[in-house]
């Protein structure tokens, strides 16, 4: 809010009418963060592809056609076919659906868990905080992939299992960031006032803490979508992910891609390429969001008003 006011005073280019905060943020991203915009477009495309996979895919999911196996790219099959004659493009499009379902649900679970653990640890403090932090320490020193593999062995293959196995460990790890965010605001007067009037910890959390750490939560979530998709693919690659028959980028890479690499080398290329693109997009979008939302960067380098000054300077130089 404060920056909105100063901006109106500082910058001659600011519009007199105040736009909605999020709309304003969106336009700032378009103007200042070309890579962030690129990432945003990739994420929107991924969502769109996943939701409308049935319409977009040229062939049905897993439609087996043994007459045309391991073909190269052609007009009928843009990215060729695999060992069972399944259209690679269609499977990649359906793979996007698996990725967004798992990516977004796991991130949602992760966010809920990390907010609950992080804020309770910070708000209650004392011994509980100490014990919980040792638990998080312990959790973080076990390599993530190994926890995922063990959890998938416990629960068996499946989409729901993947969501839980990715979301829960990520949430426990992510609670660190939330905890430090809550610690930085818990000494504020409004928290104290709330406690003084006897509000319950849940009221405090939902009405006051969460709105105040919203930027941290949003930035974290944007980054974690890519991480969750990466974990899903890693697990499917190792054969611990989606059940057979469900198209997933990771399992396409490990099964068809590696088995038939001599005959159809491009089978190993496309799933990984799409996966990299999506994770790149999610990272760039998360970065841009962090720069735009992080209150510590407000008014500093990269902020709206500064960028305008810089641009104006460049214009002046150019006109000279």
């Amino acid at each position: 809010m404060a920056s909105g006011v100063t901006r109106a005073v500082d910058s001659p280019m600011a519009e007199p009418k105040r736009r909605n905060y999020w709309v304003d943020l969106f336009f700032r991203m378009l103007k200042e963060k070309p890579l962030g915009t690129f990432g945003f477009i990739i994420m929107i495309l991924l969502l769109f592809t996943g939701i409308f996979a049935d319409v977009l895919a040229p062939y049905e999911m897993n439609k087996i056609n043994l007459l045309s196996t391991l073909q190269g790219p052609s007009a009928a099959h843009w990215l060729g076919t695999d060992n069972l004659g399944r259209d690679v493009l269609s499977n990649i499009i359906y793979g996007a659906r698996v990725s967004i379902i798992i990516g977004f649900s796991a991130t949602a679970i992760c966010t809920v868990i990390s907010v609950i653990i992080g804020s309770f640890s910070a708000l209650i403090g004392g011994k509980l905080d100490l014990i919980m932090q040792r638990f998080v320490d312990a959790w973080l020193c076990i390599p993530g992939l190994i926890i995922l593999l063990i959890m998938m062995s416990i629960m068996g293959k499946g989409t729901l299992q993947l969501i839980l196995a990715i979301g829960i460990p990520m949430g426990i790890g992510g609670s660190r960031m939330i905890r430090s965010a809550v610690i930085s605001i818990r000494e504020n007067t409004y928290v104290e006032a709330n406690r003084a009037i006897g509000a319950s910890i849940w009221t405090l959390l939902i009405r006051h803490i969460i709105p105040n750490i919203a930027p941290v939560i949003i930035i974290g979530s944007a980054m974690q979508v890519g991480g969750a998709i990466m974990m899903e693919s890693s697990l499917s690659f190792l054969g611990y992910g989606v059940p057979p028959g469900v198209p997933s980028w990771g399992s396409m890479l490990s099964q068809e891609g590696r088995t038939y690499m001599e005959i159809a080398p491009m089978l190993a290329f496309w799933p990984g390429f799409v996966l990299s693109l999506v994770i790149f997009g999610s990272n760039m979008f998360g970065d841009a969001l962090r720069d735009l939302l992080d209150p510590r960067l407000k008014g500093g380098i990269g902020s709206y008003s500064d960028a305008h000054k810089k641009k104006n300077k460049i214009k002046v130089k150019a006109s000279l």
Partner: protein
Amino acid sequence: MANYIIKRLFWLIPTIFFVTIIVFLLVRWIPGTAVDVIEASLTQSGSANIDRAAIYHMLGLDVPIHIQYVRWIGGIFLHGDFGDSIIQGRPVLQMIVERMPATIELGILSVIVEFGLALPLGVYSAARQDKTSDYILRVFAVLLIAVPSFWIATLVMVYPSIWWGWSPSMELIPFVKNPLGNLGMFIIPAIINGSMNAGMGMRLTRTMMLEVMRQDYIRTAWSKGLNERTVLVRHAIKNAFIPVVTILGGSVANILGGAVMMEQIFNIPGMGLFMLQSLSQRDYPIISASTLLMAIIVLLVNLLVDISYNWLDPRVKYQ
């Protein structure tokens, strides 16, 4: 300093306690008890009468879970006994020790690659802030983070063999017999595993350099008329690298996790591949022992990183 180390060692105890609880409970939750595995193998070998109760007793599964935990922990910390492999019947520790060198070699090479990329590129990127080369390097760093290591590893397996008929060695070459062949075998997985972790390091190095370059003493160095090289090397780098050391602690867990992937793809007989095999065979003592050992490695590296902070940065005061 000595007090600080003692205090840190003391704080390891609760963390290790939680690690053992997490590992024990997670592994116990895996369905299909070891008894079924043994029963299946006994049935296969032809013995008709199987006394399930006896097997339970033999594996120590006939007592309540907390007593099982205490027995497990007691065995490890009092006798260094991680139990015996259910499938092979050999002591787990011995089997892990056989496979550890490969993972450790891969891990160390990965760390070397990670820092070899992250530090120089991060410094260069910061020195050319907002220039084209900085922009390219920043995109490159995000690419390193985004591109999955298992994809690159798969491509390395696929394309060179098609184009040049070359493929990485699929058998372990012992270091004593053929040091160069051994390094040649490990270097490709290490480059892949290390560079995937270098992205974060590059970004942190760049941020830290920019932070340092804004300090007064750097301005003083510039105004003394020193050239860029001296300012960077003599004044900036030393101060910027200290926080970068801490990412080593964080990346060890990633590198060990990545080693599982690399060992699987490149068929390196290390701890990671061993764990994957044990998971599919439900050989619990091996899974819990190797997970615990990996966690302890990560903890110890983190401890060393924290202690070396003092050695690197005398300004840090320990309480």
